[in-house]
């Protein structure tokens, strides 16, 4: 649905060229929530802003539903933008307009009739839970409420896509959760494709289906969120993941272990834990559980289990083979003597 083809964005400021986005190609499917993470200055905003041409790519092409938006006329682009909602970290509401007027503004931009504007605005207010605040000014609202107005405004013209630039970065954890679940329900119920950028891995873990990791203007790794969490390849991806999931055994615990320490990754069905107990019934080994943790990436569990196997060498080896054979989803990651 959104296709980014070899897009590069170079800013020239004070005679110097600054690379914002470098040769990025990307496909975002209809109905998914796609997350882009990266540290500050990685080029996330630049890339996102290219998607509705707030920033004109220096080279490359962007297609939305097969239409190359980089080739549209000013008027056509304006019409296309009605179909691409956007929300921002700092909300950017019109401070001189009430909540109602801020939302109605978007409908006016689409040339809607007065009755229709009124009807739709009230409907949107209800959806984001701000019916009682409709006549207040943005300055009178909390951050979470302001973002809800931003969301209502972005959704006013029934867009196909919602672009979110650090939409929750200015909010406290509880409000973040509430806004994320609102975004999630918008995605599920209205089928709107969401592209969000963030430097908080927590956000990606919470609601994204697929993700990309950006560094220095480039996308260095991309894939299904669950798979990337389970098998990150690039160092940067690993460091992002470790910010939300601590999967390593604390160093001191490894010291002075006599047996073989194995690390098992659980993926998917949690019932596979049963294998561990079977292990102790079938083999003459003793288990010493050192560390265990299960994280839920949306609904699916991702866990590790680190234990020390103590017993005769051959028996330990057989036990490990037993694990390897039994379940593909369990892997022995490490042998430590």
């Amino acid at each position: 649905m959104i296709e980014v083809r070899d897009v590069t964005k170079i800013y020239s400021a004070k005679g110097k060229d600054i690379v914002g986005v470098k040769n990025v190609s990307l496909k975002i499917e209809k109905g998914e929530i796609f997350g882009i993470v990266g540290y500050s200055g990685a080029g996330k905003s630049s890339l996102l802003r290219c998607l509705n041409l707030l920033e004109k790519p220096t080279s490359g092409e962007i297609l939305i539903d097969g239409v190359s938006i980089t080739k549209l006329s000013k008027k056509e682009l304006r019409e296309e933008r009605l179909k691409i909602g956007m929300i921002f970290q700092h909300f950017y509401l019109i401070s001189a307009k009430t909540v109602y007027e801020n939302i109605a503004f978007a409908l006016k931009a689409a040339g809607k009739k007065k009755d229709e504007i009124n009807h739709k605005t009230l409907e949107l207010l209800k959806m984001v839970g701000l019916e009682n605040q409709k006549d207040q000014y943005p300055a009178q609202l909390s951050g979470g409420q302001k973002q809800r107005v931003g969301i209502a405004r972005a959704l006013a013209n029934d867009p196909k896509v919602l672009l979110c630039d650090e939409a929750t970065s200015a909010l406290d954890p509880n409000t973040t959760k509430a806004i994320l679940s609102l975004l999630q329900s918008i995605n599920k119920e209205l089928g709107i494709t969401i592209v969000l950028i963030t430097h908080e891995m927590e956000v990606v873990k919470e609601i994204c289906h697929r993700m990309a990791v950006m560094q220095d203007g480039e996308i260095i790794e991309t894939g299904d969120v669950y798979n990337l969490f389970a098998h990150p390849e690039k160092e940067l991806t690993k460091s992002f993941i470790s910010s939300v999931i601590q999967m390593n055994l604390p160093e001191p615990l490894l010291k002075g272990r006599k047996g073989v320490v194995i690390k098992i990754h659980f993926k998917g069905a949690i019932a596979e834990e049963a294998v561990v107990s079977e292990l102790f019934q079938n083999f003459k080994v003793k288990g010493n559980i050192l560390h265990g943790k299960i994280e839920y990436i949306q609904e699916t569990p991702l866990g590790i289990f680190i234990m020390e196997l103590i017993g005769e060498e051959t028996e330990v080896k057989r036990a490990m083979d037993y694990i390897k054979d039994r379940i593909e989803n369990l892997e022995v990651v490490k042998h430590v003597a």
Binding site: R81, S95, K97, F105, K108
Partner: protein
């Protein structure tokens, strides 16, 4: 004694007062009508904005600076032919309003431009992202957002016009300034001098208080 001399000048003072009011009102009106769009043009033709246009931006900018750098008293004299052309005379408050307007337009336009510049670029960008037309953005985003600043600009312009109108009195513009000079300065009448100064102070204070009040009322931030 004091009261008596005050009483005797009252009719003249009254006339002068309304002449000043008339000059300030006309030139303020003209500078709003011309200066507001000019201020908006100065802003929207700037780099990276709705109607980015270096040529217009430069031309308007130079013109504005040119007028603003000419001392008012010189402008007053230099514009006499234009005044004659427009009003058919070079004397009286109507005639004085011409040069007052010419001086106030660029002044007010720059103040408008400054208050537009204070709007968060993100708010404008959000309106662009929504798909609004540039015209709609000017009317529904730029002007409402800059409203408190524009009200303040009107206040400042009105107060400056009051000062300039006194100067216009020198070339026969009439008004309080003219009155103060003719009766107070040339005739060494301290009572008249003092009264007119007090009157001017009161008017300025009043304008400021009203301006601040309105600016506060329209500010929703």
């Amino acid at each position: 004694m004091l009261l008596e001399s005050l009483y005797s000048i009252l009719p003249d003072l009254n006339k002068a007062f309304f002449e000043t009011l008339y000059m300030v009102a006309i030139s303020l009106g003209v500078s709003l009508i011309v200066g507001l769009p000019l201020g908006v043009i100065l802003f929207v033709t700037d780099r990276g904005l709705l109607f980015e246009n270096v040529w217009i931006k430069q031309t308007a900018g130079i013109l504005v600076n040119l007028i603003r750098s000419v001392p008012f008293i010189i402008l007053l004299v230099a514009l006499l032919p234009l005044t004659q052309l427009i009003t058919g005379t070079t004397i009286g408050p109507t005639a004085a309003s011409v040069s007052l307007s010419v001086a106030a337009i660029p002044f007010f336009a720059r103040l408008v431009e400054t208050s537009l510049r204070e709007i968060d670029k993100g708010v404008i960008e959000a309106a662009v992202a929504v798909g609004a037309t540039p015209w709609m953005i000017i009317r529904e985003v730029l002007l409402p957002e800059a409203k408190p600043g524009i009200v303040q600009a009107i206040t400042v312009t009105a107060i400056s016009l009051l000062g300039y109108s006194a100067m216009a009195g020198i070339v026969g513009g009439g008004g309080i300034g003219d009155f103060a000079i003719r009766f107070g300065y040339y005739r060494y009448d301290n009572t008249i001098m003092f009264t007119t100064v007090v009157l001017l102070i009161v008017i300025v204070q009043l304008m400021q208080v009203i301006g601040d009040g309105v600016a506060r009322a329209v500010n929703k931030r």
